[in-house]
Symmetry: C2
Subunit: 142 residues, 2 copies
DNA sequence: TCAACAGTTTAGAATAATTATAATTTATAA
DNA sequence: TTATAAATTATAATTATTCTAAACTGTTGA
């Protein structure tokens, strides 16, 4: 049950013109139960799988960045060769599975509040986020 | 006072052949008081500034990765367009100054131990690291 | 309703970081 | 010293991302 109207409204509210492509990208991103973690490549793949459509790479980049700038998406740095995005835009923590390269949200109560006792003078803290790297117990040589 | 012998020994110990280039890179990286945070580009620049030498880009990449694999360097992900490395290879936390794009080590006592209460089943925790993003108080529009 | 215009999309070129290749050179063990 | 395995190098290739300029589309207001 796809409620595109939602997205059209949402996009309009933030001053993004609700074009066909943007609405479709929003469908793929936000019509989900769970948070969606993805790279641009994942997203392009999903679009062609789920919608059977081709949206130009440039448009996907533009749209994702537009959504991010407007606060609908959050960029997450895990490794340096790719950008990950997260549909959960709140400040929250992650597990990163080094075997499968999967990113998993931490439940709020899985990590205690992190207490930063000192800060750089003259600066304000924008976010405090924890990355827990996990891997299967065996393959740890070399 | 450059003690290359140290590096020659150290490299040899871990099974890295102490070539001219590797020893020079080690000098630049490890003959410092403070932890050194750098991108490959920073490093290449430092090499040509401090040693007045040109080491091929490929060699710098290879060497940095070799050092990293052997545990002399640690890779850190802040943003996705570049790899940062850190000569402090212990598990520790960082401030990232979003204005200047500088990475700063947290002192051990600046952040309380992070308590991860739940883990992904079947996986073991490799590291738990905090990134505190800071920025100057003003420029926060858009 | 429709014209006009600004904002979008698009394919493809350009760029930047990184990795691969293959020939040459070097460190080291015998 | 010499053979050989490993390292270095310049350069090409690759990959992720951004830019560009032309074509297209959503929106505004006459």
């Amino acid at each position: 049950m796809t409620k595109n109207f939602n997205f059209i409204e949402k996009l309009r509210e933030t001053g993004l013109r609700p074009t066909k492509q943007r609405v479709k990208i929003c469908e793929v991103l936000f019509n989900r139960d769970k948070t969606f973690h993805f790279t641009i490549n994942d997203l392009v793949k999903k679009i062609s799988e789920e919608l059977n459509e081709k949206i130009s790479l440039a448009t996907v980049y533009n749209t994702v960045h537009a959504l991010q700038k407007k606060g609908y998406l959050k960029e997450i740095s895990i490794n340096s060769d790719k950008s990950y995005f997260d549909t959960n835009t709140t400040v929250h923590h992650h597990f990163y599975d080094e075997d499968t390269h999967q990113l998993i949200d931490c439940d709020e109560n899985e990590i205690e509040n992190v207490n930063v006792k000192n800060n750089i003078t003259g600066k304000k803290i924008n976010s405090v986020e924890v990355l827990v790297r996990v891997a299967s117990d065996n393959q740890n040589q070399n």
